[in-house]
Structures are given as structure tokens and as C-alpha cells.
């Protein structure tokens, strides 16, 4: 597990991190970084998969450069764009951000699972309650609470779908 750091970063370092995260907030720039992880590429090569102008691509590259994520060699005629793996690695120290996204995704799965009929009983018989071992009062209470929690997730999810 990567450490999140000791929280004693200087303001300069924080500003640099902010610029890097900001640069990566754009899906096209993330795609460029993913492409550059495979190897250096020219502006034309980076532009190829996108339905945007070469000027827009250059602008994206400038943002990545400003964030310290990529560099461009001055001498070579093609001026290929080069990813700085160390700069990227500094970002991954902020793995808690990744965790939040993973958590969010899994909570959506929790909500879905709570809404699914039990797969072991596709056609639940009417007398199903008599087939189960009797629940303790505590277990029933807990189940009820958890069910409510899932329903809240469901409601929240539906609201967000409406907004989208």
C-alpha cells in the first residue's frame, strides 16, 4: 500500500499536485497520458484518435507540460512528447482518491445486489419463511437496518440518474 504522505507538504508541492490533478481531470488528457505510458508520441500521433483540432491537442499538451507530467525535447525535429513517470508516481501516492471511486462503484453494486431477487431461490415458494432457520431478534433488526440503507442508496442513485 502506498502511503498518503505525512501531510507536511510545502505549499509549492501542493500547488504542483493541484496542477497535476487538474490536468488529469480532463478525459482527453487522461487518454493522452495513457497513450504516452506506451512510449513517446508526436503531436500528430496524439491527435489521431480524437475528433478535435490539432490546436486543441497542442493546448492539452501545454496543460500537461505545465503540470510537469510531460516534457518535449527541444532538439529533435519531431519534438516528441515524453511522459515523466516519476511525476505520475507522485500522484499515485494519493491512492485514497482512487479508493473513493472504487468505494462509490462498489456501493452501487451493494444497492444493485440488495434489489436483486435471491439467485438461489428463483421461484420463491410461499412458505419460504418456514424453510429458514429462525432469525434472532437482533439479526432481524440488523437486516432491517441494512435494507433501509440499501434503499437509501437506491433512491440516491435514481435521483442522480434523473439529474444526468
Amino acid at each position: 500500500m502506498i502511503d498518503q504522505g505525512d501531510g507536511c507538504q510545502s505549499t509549492d508541492e501542493e500547488a504542483a499536485l493541484d496542477r497535476a490533478f487538474l490536468a488529469l481531470a480532463d478525459p482527453i488528457r487522461r487518454a493522452m497520458v495513457a497513450r504516452l505510458a506506451r512510449g513517446d508520441a508526436t503531436v500528430n500521433e496524439l491527435a489521431a484518435p480524437f475528433a478535435i483540432t490539432k490546436q486543441a491537442v497542442s493546448k492539452h499538451i501545454q496543460v500537461l507540460q505545465h503540470a510537469g507530467l510531460v516534457t518535449r525535447s527541444r532538439d529533435a525535429q519531431r519534438r516528441p512528447v515524453h511522459l515523466d513517470p516519476a511525476a505520475l508516481e507522485r500522484l499515485t501516492a494519493w491512492i485514497d482518491r482512487y479508493r473513493l471511486i472504487a468505494e462509490d462503484r462498489f456501493r452501487q453494486l451493494d444497492a444493485l445486489l440488495a434489489a436483486l431477487p435471491p439467485p438461489t431461490t428463483p421461484d420463491p415458494p410461499h412458505h419460504e419463511h418456514t424453510e429458514h432457520a429462525p432469525h434472532t431478534e437482533h439479526a432481524q433488526h440488523q437486516e432491517h437496518q441494512e435494507h433501509q440503507e440499501y434503499q437509501e442508496h437506491q433512491v440516491q442513485q435514481q435521483q442522480e440518474e434523473h439529474k444526468a
Binding site: A25, V33, A37, R38, A51, D104, R105, F106, L109, Q157
Partner: protein, 155 residues
Amino acid sequence: MTNSTSITAAPGLPFIDVVREFDAPVQAVFRAHVQPDLFARWSGPRGLRMEQVELDPTAGGKWRYAFRAAGDQPFSFFGVFHAVERDALIVQTFEFNLAPGQVGLSTTTFTDLQGRARLALHEVYPSVAARDAALASGMEHGIVEGYERLDELLA
């Protein structure tokens, strides 16, 4: 009480390991991974509609799904199932349309915990840089909206 997620990504190694438990039977957790309509309901980022979800969960079967974001630019993920054991194991390759040729391998194991289930995901990337790019891009779903506004200011 929500189950916590364990994520391990050691520096210098091209792996990501994720472990999470679910208060649901292992059969349901597995189904949510292989049935396209169910998969689309949870696996995508909130606010983005997952489209063209195709899953053929058999050895050699293909899978893919897509999103639209940022001016209709399509983003898609695709690959091939290598091994599928019902309620137990999924081994699949994965690739991102905008990073062609960078193929990863993911192994998902499902463990029956007597009514509950444990999911363990092990991803192998073609390079450490590719792994780090994937980790960094994980931010997309949570904080992107806030940054997009800032982004517009800076454009």
C-alpha cells in the same frame, strides 16, 4: 455498515489489487459481473451512461462497453474472457480504446462466505507507467465535476 475496500498498489510494480466483501450471496455478485444489464447498472461512473455493453462470459468470449464524455468523444473498454468459472473466477484481458495495444490482464475471484461474498480483483498492467496512469485516472468519477469548472476557467 458499508464494507470497506482494500486497495494495494505497490510502487514500482504494475499491479493493482482490490478486495471487497458484499452482504449478498456469491451467485448474485458473480451475476452482476457477467449479465450486461446488471453490469451497466453499477460498474460505470455515476452521471455517465454506459452504453453498448456486450459480455460473452465464456473462454474466448469478447466483452466491451463504452461511455460518452467530453464533447461526444467515445471511450470504450474491451477485451476477451480467458477463463470463466461460474460463481468463482473470471480471467480477462482489458484494453482502453485510446491507448491501443496496451493490454492488461485481470483476475477476479469470488469467494462464498456463507451468504456473503468476497471479491478479489488482481490487475496486471503492461508497464508501471500504465498502472500509474490507470490509478491517476481513477479520479475521474469522484471529483471531475469540480475540476471541470476550474478547467473551463483555465482554458
